[in-house]
């Protein structure tokens, strides 16, 4: 019985960590799918999203789960500006340039945030802090359950947006064939900006959920989750949103399993070991096809 409850505990932690990774990886995938751009600075948007939630919470004291929407909206704007000023001028000049540009963005965002908010560790207290709910043999914090529900809602919303709205369908068309989309009269540059903003909004949601779950954060916290999100989309296949969801859950589980078995220090390294092993066996990723 003891063992079972430990395994369940790890599963549950993995599921929760997976939710954050899924949001981050889905955002990256959306941007990659439409623009074929790799933004290594994606974690910085998670960090900014976390800080916006933190600031609004500090001033108004609203429920952080409500501020999530505001934070997402703010990041749509920031994302659109970054796309227009930084990524559009170098679109099509080579993959390495995108990576280098992301490094510049990482410098700017991390240290810009440190200038505004300082570089100390911060945290946000959730209104449901300390409330636990029994799930089977486990007693889990209510916040974790809310986080899973919110993640599911956001993903459903994204699904409906992509399948049912005109812009969503235009995004799908652009991601399938950019030239073809241009030919049928889709303004692909507008679609680029929208996708980038939307991807950033998903990162903001991930950041907000990260902080309300009681995790501490500082301006440099975004780098590692972002790289893990990359590992996830490589595992799940570039541009595939279902792949990102499966990959995110697997990564959350592998990481928490490793932290339990090997000690917390291995948490970050394990995700990269998994990534390298997978890439040695399959250089295009687990579910990756010809693309990329």
């Amino acid at each position: 019985m003891e063992d079972l409850s430990i395994i369940l505990q790890i599963l549950f932690w993995g599921l929760y960590a997976g939710c954050i990774y899924i949001l981050l990886a889905t955002g990256l995938n959306l941007i990659f799918g439409v623009m074929k751009v790799v933004n290594f600075a994606h974690g910085e948007f998670l960090m900014v999203g976390a800080y916006i939630t933190f600031t609004v919470f500090l001033f108004t004291g609203f429920n952080p789960y409500v501020i999530l929407l505001l934070s997402m909206l703010a990041l749509v704007g920031i994302g659109a500006i970054v796309e227009r000023l930084c990524f559009r001028p170098i679109l099509g000049t080579g993959k390495l340039n995108e990576i280098f540009l992301s490094i510049g963005l990482i410098y700017i965002f991390q240290n810009g945030a440190a200038m505004i908010w300082g570089d100390a560790w911060q945290s946000v207290k959730s209104p449901y802090d300390g409330i636990s709910v029994p799930v089977g043999p486990l007693s889990v914090p209510l916040d974790y359950i809310i986080i899973m529900v919110v993640t599911a809602l956001i993903l459903c919303g994204l699904y409906l947006f992509l399948k049912k709205t005109t812009i969503g369908m235009q995004m799908q068309a652009t991601s399938q064939n950019r030239k073809g989309a241009m030919l049928v009269g889709i303004n692909v540059e507008r679609i680029d900006i929208i996708s980038f903003g939307l991807g950033c909004a998903l990162a903001a949601a991930a950041g907000t959920l990260w902080v309300v779950s009681g995790q501490v954060f500082n301006p440099y916290m975004g780098a590692i989750p972002a790289v893990k999100a990359f590992a996830i989309i490589i595992l799940g296949g570039l541009g595939s949103i279902p792949g990102a969801i499966i990959g995110g859950l697997l990564m959350g589980l592998a990481e928490n399993g490793a932290a339990f078995l090997l000690g917390g220090i291995w948490k970050d390294a394990v995700s990269f070991i998994v990534l390298i092993v997978v890439l040695v066996i399959r250089p295009t990723g687990l579910f990756g096809g010809k693309e990329g």
Partner: protein
């Protein structure tokens, strides 16, 4: 081979070498000499990264090789009691072997997969150093490392400066020869078009591994030099910052050129130290980030291409001046 270098470039090189040799005579300030030593090491490191980038492989984890060279050199020097002048190359050799191993996983990968693997590799190495290898490496606290030139010798700072200057010049000449050899041309061919390179009889896997090995070796030298200069080693060497600096230097100076890493490192160091004088902390990084992005967008070939860009711009302006706006004559 030397005869096809333009005269202006030969003068510039001679001038740079003379300036570097004369520097300690121009200033008594040991802070500046110390800064110059760190700058020379950064030039070696940036050149190592640049060599790998020449073969189309952009690494985001070069701090791994930098750190491996430093740790291997320190541990050998401490346990066997050999002078750091020899262990530097042993450390670099270890870095090269590990470079080949990591290169083996990377050779078939696309740019951003490779970037990810190298980035992750630096984190894995750091984790190993502070966990499994901690009894040897001292974990997060680090261990003292023997100095390159013992501080007991009078004028040790100057001896150290000239030793490192010599190694830097030797490294740059070596890279220059490599880039003009068959291997260097193969690197460029693979970067431009792998399929065509293969058709021309170049084995991309072999040459990519070679690039990895050479680059890791040189990065290892840089790491070992830095640690023996400072006299203490900690796992912070493997930090993300340390992986990003050479990239920033090279992009600003000019990717894929011999002079690029040198010019970029000198320019950025001057900017960096100048900003420090104004008392900036975080803002310095923001400015570096903005410079990096502006360079990528407006000066994609780096500062190296600035003279020809200026000449081009002047010529265009002259042409405009000569033609009358109305008559067009």
């Amino acid at each position: 081979m030397l005869s096809n270098i333009p005269l202006s470039l030969r003068y510039a090189t001679a001038l740079a070498v003379i300036a570097a040799v004369a520097l300690p005579f121009l200033t008594d300030n040991m802070f500046i000499v110390n800064l110059a030593v760190l700058m020379l090491i950064a030039i070696i490191f940036a050149s190592a990264w640049n060599l790998l980038a020449c073969s189309g492989q952009g690494s985001l984890g070069h701090a791994a090789f930098f750190g491996i060279g430093a740790y291997a050199s320190t541990l050998v020097a401490v346990s066997l009691g050999i002078t750091p002048f020899i262990t530097i190359f042993i450390g670099a050799g270890v870095a090269a072997v590990i470079g080949i191993l990591i290169g083996l996983t990377c050779v078939r990968l696309k740019e951003w997969f490779l970037a990810m693997v190298t980035f992750g590799f630096a984190i894995i190495v750091q984790t190993l150093v502070v966990s499994v290898l901690a009894p040897m490496t001292g974990g997060w606290d680090g261990i003292p490392s023997p100095r390159l030139v013992s501080p007991a010798i009078p004028g040790y700072q100057l001896i150290e400066y000239y030793a490192i200057l010599l190694i830097t010049i030797a490294t740059i000449i070596a890279i220059w020869y490599i880039m003009r050899s068959k291997a260097g041309l193969a690197f460029l061919a693979i970067r431009e078009n792998e399929t065509e390179a293969r058709a021309a009889g170049i084995d991309p896997v072999r040459y990519r591994l070679l690039a990895f090995a050479i680059s890791a070796f040189i990065a290892g030298i840089a790491g070992a030099l830095q640690i023996h200069h400072i006299g203490y080693i900690t796992p912070e060497l493997f930090g993300v910052d340390n992986s990003f600096w050479p990239i920033t230097y090279v992009i600003l100076g000019g990717l894929g050129t011999i002079a690029g890493p040198i010019i970029g490192t000198v320019a950025l160091t001057v900017i960096w130290e100048g900003l420090k004088e104004t008392g900036m902390t975080f803002a310095r990084y923001v400015i570096i980030g903005i410079i990096l992005i502006l360079t990528i967008i407006f000066l994609p070939k780096g500062l190296v291409s600035l003279p020809e860009r200026l000449v081009e711009w002047m010529a265009r302006k002259k042409r405009k001046m000569e033609t009358h706006p109305l008559t067009g004559k």
